[in-house]
Amino acid sequence: MHRLIALSLLTLVASLSLAQDKPKVEPWVCPPGFEGQTLHVFNWSSYIAPNTIGDFEAACGVTIVYSVYDSNETMLAKLVRGNPGYDIAVPSGSAVGRMIQLDLLEPLDLDKLPQLATISSDLLNPPYDPGNVYSVPYQWGTTGIGYNRKKVTQPISSWDDLWNYQGKVAWLGDMRGMMGIALHLLGFSPDTTDPDEITAARDFLLSKGDNVAIIATGDGQIMLERGDVDMVIGYNGSIIALKYSCECDDFAYVVPQEGSFIWVDNLVIPRGAPNPELAHVFIDYILHPQTNADISNFTAYGSPNQVAIDAGLIDEALLANEGIYPPPAIREKLFFIGPVPNQVDVLYSDAWDEVAILLSR
């Protein structure tokens, strides 16, 4: 996922946070005894608020060494041959599953994370990490339809609006995600292990593919912006960010009413972290409503923190954006993509291969 941020947001957020006066959230307090220590944080680029690191350093009297990456694969590659010294990493859900399989994660001591209680319950206990043994949510988002208002004049609210659109569309090159949407629409579990259901999902996608110009891996929003397609399946962040990159109002994003799959990036402690104690303190700090709201207000991704939302810490314009914070009726239809056994994963990739290749006929 592209971590695109808009600098214009920064000024907006700054002015709004001055005006806010209703939050009833207690400020976060650092437990004593960590003065002079160092913490190594490894996060996606442009994925934290400007004050997050400095405030933590001041509160605890510690130093943070902050490094960034731009894909799960880059982060995994650094950790898979032995942790070079990171205390915190922020993998996506699927990467958490893989890291658990590869024994790359330190179990979390949830007793040391009192702020976890402020996190929205529907984002806890994900299928890739049942019981949040290794990971807690950092930021989250949806997958839906982005479209060009100038070309698409009818209202868009359903997956059928995309399948039946007379014009060019781009799909998302996310195997489990796309298969998951098809399975969900057919009424099956998005993590099904039944070969017949997987085949049905393949045939469903093949029957809906007549208007697909390309299956885009990561650059669908660029094709949308450039006018090569009118509609695209994509992650909310990358499409909402178009608004800021083109400084126009041509592009809209909706989560279809039937529901779609969500992505969650998670805080984890890599196996062999030099300072797991301080890492727990840092995670608790990030989970705190104020910290989490600051980050979400800056990145324009969804905050998993229910208390932050209820207390009005989230910028109103962002909170009103249904692409970032879907209304309850849609929110309850969102689903995770969970891990499946290796033998089943093979069925998914075979089916998706055939979709990707045979859409062309």
């Binding site: 090569d228 994963d345 998706w352 291969d353």
Partner: protein, 287 residues
């Protein structure tokens, strides 16, 4: 006696001299090729894992569901090669017949010049030219030649354009070498014997420069069949080729046996095409 001994010694030292090449090719060509061949018959256990027993399943899928991609790869490659030939031969002929050596060198330099820029960047640039709101559509619409933008990007047409653009130098250079070596006194002789220019070209010049044509066609056709960057960037869903399918299997899908079966099939296509060329070439050249 002595002569035979000397010949044997010579043979032995020849073998010794060839040894590095033999080891190199054996280790880095034949052995991997053998592994790919064996893998193509193995059972796929899970992502990236293969096991016995042997199976024909991957070839069944290659020639079954994926045959549409095989067929498309072949026709796109043939069309691209033919277009390269139609553009490349006149161009090479033009360059080789310049009297001024300086002009000739400059022309050759210009043919090779695109190689100075990365192939990926040059192919990506075509996306900007061919897009619905790209340069070409903008010009055509500006001139009032079309009302709605033409769909150029994400079509087999775009792939062929990209392949011709990318591989044209491989056609021009061998033909240039052939024409350059051609002795134009033969054309004078043909004229003396009553042939006009056209007849002299088709009866004398073309047959004698055929080695260049065959070399150029092979050098264009082979990378076309295996292309995956060009169809990936320009073809969309309509222009996927066997190269894309193979890179998928060794990349995200990690289906090593299917990828191997597809690779073997691709090699067979290239081999059949080359054998046909060679047969044709030998007959034409009076071999």
């Amino acid at each position: 006696m002595l002569e035979a001994q000397a010949r044997r010694r010579q043979q032995r030292s020849g073998l010794l001299l060839a040894l590095p090449a033999i080891i190199w090719l054996g280790l880095f060509f034949l052995l991997p090729l053998g592994i790919v061949g064996v893998f193509s018959f193995l059972t796929r256990e899970a992502a990236g894992i293969v096991s016995l027993p042997f199976t024909l399943e991957h070839y069944e899928r290659t020639f079954g569901v994926f045959s549409v991609v095989l067929w498309r790869s072949v026709w796109i490659s043939v069309v691209s090669t033919v277009i390269c030939l139609l553009i490349g031969y006149p161009l090479a002929f033009f360059i080789a017949t310049r009297q001024n050596n300086w002009v000739r060198q400059l022309c050759l330099f210009m043919v090779v010049l695109p190689f100075w820029t990365n192939f990926l960047v040059r192919t990506y640039a075509w996306r900007i030219l061919l897009g619905d709101q790209g340069t070409i559509n903008a010009i055509l619409q500006g001139l009032g030649l079309i009302d709605a933008p033409l769909t150029l990007l994400n079509t087999p047409f775009a792939v062929i354009l990209g392949l011709v653009y990318g591989f044209l130098p491989f056609m021009v250079l061998p033909i240039y070498a052939s024409v350059d070596r051609f002795d134009f006194k033969y054309v004078d002789a043909a004229h003396d014997l009553g042939a006009n220019d056209i007849k002299a070209f088709f009866r004398v010049v073309l047959p004698m420069t055929l080695p260049g044509v065959f070399a150029g066609s092979a050098l264009v056709f082979i990378p076309c069949v295996g292309a995956f960057v060009t169809p990936d960037l320009l073809g969309g869903t309509q222009g996927l080729m066997i190269g894309n399918l193979i890179s998928r299997q060794f990349g995200q899908s990690l289906n090593l046996p299917l990828g191997s079966a597809l690779s073997v099939t691709m090699m067979l296509i290239v081999m059949v095409a080359l054998l046909a060329y060679v047969r044709l070439g030998n007959r034409r050249l009076g071999g």
